[in-house]
C-alpha cells in the first residue's frame, strides 16, 4: 500500500533507534509526550518503546477526543436519543463510551433508542434527506480533523433546506489542550511530570498547519515535532526531538512534509470559521475546564444547534472514583497504575474512556503492551534462574 508500507520498515526503525541511542546523552533523561491517540496506538502496536534507549521515554497524552469527552455529554446524548422523534447519528467510537450508572449509547440503542452508527457526516445527511419525518441529530466529536466535515454537512443541510438536521457539537481544539497540560491548576492536584517536548498530530496539522504551535513552542520553550502515524514517522520525530533537546532548541519542526504545510488547509479553516466559534470554556474529561478548548455553532445557526433546539442539559456527572483516566490522560500515571486496569476494566467492559477507544492509552496497553511486559518478565525470570 503506497504511502503506508514504506514507512513500516522494521530494519530502518532499528537503525534509527541506534542513532537515537548514540545521540541521547547518558547523563540525562528525555521525556516526550505524544499528544495524539493515533501515535499512542502506533507506539504500542509496533513496540517502538522497546527500541528506545532507557533514558528516552514516551508519555501518553490526552489526544483522543472520545477519551476526553466528559461523562455528562454522553448522558445528555443518551437522554436526547431516548426521545421518540430523535434519530441520533454518531461515529462508532462513541457507542461504548460509558455514561453514568453503566449506561452507553449501545445500551440505549438496545433499549429502543434510534441511534445509528455512521462513517461520515455524509451518511448522517443522507439519513436526514431520506427520513424527513425524523429529527436527525449528528453527535459531532473530534479534533480539528473532524470539524471541517461537520461544517460541510451543515453547509449542505442549509443548501438543501433540510430542516430536520442538527448538530450536537463536541468539537475540541488541540493547541488549547497541550497548553492546559502544562499550566492548568489541576497540575498541582494531580502532580506534574517532566516533559521535554511534544510529538504533534500530523492529521490535525493537515488542517491547522504547523503555525499554531509556534507560539506554544516559544512560550513554553518546548520543542514540537509534527509527525505522521506510521512507525518510521514516529521514530524519526523522536530523533528530531532528541536533536533539538541536545542543541537547546525549542522549535516547531514538520516531519510530515508530505501533507502538512505551515498554514494548513485554509479552505477547511474558512469553512470551520464560517460555522463555529470558540467556547469560553469546555469540560474535558481528565483535564477539567479548558479555556477556549472547544467550539460551538455560531448564533446565526441556532436552528441547527441541537443543544438549543432540544433544550439539552449536560448533567454534572462524576467518573468512577477508582478510575484513573484523569491522571492517565495527563501522563501522570500509567494504565497499569490504575487498580481497575485489566480487572473490571477491559475493552469488552470499559469503565473509563481510556479503555473504550482503541486509541486510548489503556486500550493500547491492553491490546499490545501487556504482552511485551509479560515477555520481559519471562526474560528476567530466565536470567534469574
Amino acid at each position: 500500500m503506497k504511502y503506508i508500507d514504506e514507512y513500516r520498515d522494521g530494519r530502518l526503525a532499528k537503525d534509527i533507534a541506534r542513532q537515537i541511542a548514540a545521540l541521547a546523552d547518558p547523563g540525562r533523561s528525555y521525556h516526550f509526550m505524544e499528544f495524539c491517540g493515533g501515535h499512542t496506538h502506533a507506539i504500542s502496536r509496533y513496540g517502538l518503546e522497546d527500541l528506545l534507549p532507557a533514558n528516552v521515554r514516551m508519555i501518553h497524552g490526552p489526544g483522543c477526543p472520545v477519551c476526553v469527552l466528559p461523562i455528562g455529554r454522553i448522558d445528555a446524548a443518551i437522554a436526547l436519543a431516548m426521545r421518540p422523534e430523535i434519530t441520533l447519528c454518531t461515529y462508532g467510537d462513541l457507542m461504548r463510551v460509558p455514561g453514568s450508572n453503566g449506561s452507553s449509547l449501545l445500551k440505549a440503542k438496545a433499549a429502543g433508542a434510534d441511534i445509528r452508527m455512521v462513517y461520515s457526516t455524509l451518511d448522517a445527511l443522507r439519513i436526514a434527506e431520506a427520513e424527513l419525518e425524523r429529527e436527525v441529530v449528528f453527535f459531532a466529536i473530534g479534533f480539528e480533523t473532524t470539524t471541517p466535515p461537520t461544517a460541510l454537512a451543515l453547509k449542505a443541510a442549509i443548501a438543501k433546506g433540510l430542516g430536520n438536521f442538527s448538530i450536537f457539537c463536541n468539537h475540541v481544539l488541540t493547541p488549547a489542550a497541550i497548553q492546559n497540560i502544562l499550566e492548568s491548576p489541576d497540575v498541582r492536584k494531580l502532580g506534574t511530570i517532566k516533559i521535554d517536548g511534544f510529538v504533534g498530530p500530523a492529521h490535525v496539522s493537515t488542517v491547522i498547519g504547523t503555525e499554531p504551535y509556534e507560539f506554544f513552542a516559544g512560550e513554553f520553550q518546548k520543542p514540537v515535532v509534527v509527525a505522521g502515524f506510521e512507525p518510521l514517522d514516529v521514530i524519526q520525530a523522536i530523533l528530531m526531538l532528541v536533536r533539538q533537546v541536545n542543541d537547546g532548541r525549542h522549535e516547531v519542526e514538520n516531519q510530515y512534509i508530505r501533507a502538512v504545510t505551515a498554514l494548513g488547509n485554509e479552505k477547511a479553516q474558512a469553512e470551520v470559521a464560517n460555522f463555529f466559534e470558540l467556547r469560553e470554556s469546555f469540560e474535558w474529561r481528565g483535564l477539567g475546564e479548558v479555556p477556549y478548548g472547544a467550539l460551538r455553532l455560531r448564533p446565526q445557526y441556532v436552528a441547527y444547534d441541537a443543544e438549543k433546539r432540544f433544550s439539552m442539559v449536560t448533567p454534572a456527572a462524576k467518573d468512577n472514583p477508582a478510575c484513573a483516566c484523569g491522571a492517565i490522560l495527563r501522563g501522570v500515571r500509567r494504565p497499569t497504575d490504575c487498580k481497575l486496569f485489566g480487572t473490571v476494566c477491559t475493552p469488552d467492559t470499559p469503565m473509563g474512556s481510556c479503555m473504550v477507544s482503541s486509541e486510548g492509552a489503556c486500550a493500547a496497553h491492553w491490546t499490545y503492551g501487556r504482552f511485551r511486559e509479560r515477555a520481559r518478565q519471562v526474560d528476567v525470570g530466565r536470567a534469574v534462574a
Binding site: D15, F143, T206, Q236, L239
Partner: protein, 76 residues
Amino acid sequence: MCLAIPVQVKEVLPDHMAKVTLDGVSKIVSTALVDDVRPGDYLVLHVGYALAKIDPEEAERTLALIREAAAMGDAA
C-alpha cells in the same frame, strides 16, 4: 478517531466527489476541501472527506531523510 489514511483517486466525480481506492477497496468520498483533484493523486482521507493531498516529492524526501538517519544509526 482522528486517524486518516492515504487513498488514491481513481475517478473525479461531479459535486466535489471522487472515487478512491485503498488496496483494492473502493469508496466515494468528498473532495470539497481540496483543490485540483486529479486521477492518480493521493489524498489523506478522514471520515469520508479528503483533508490534504500527499506531495509525492516530499514523501520521497522524508524517506530519503529516514534512510539517511538509519544509515547513521547503522554506523553508530
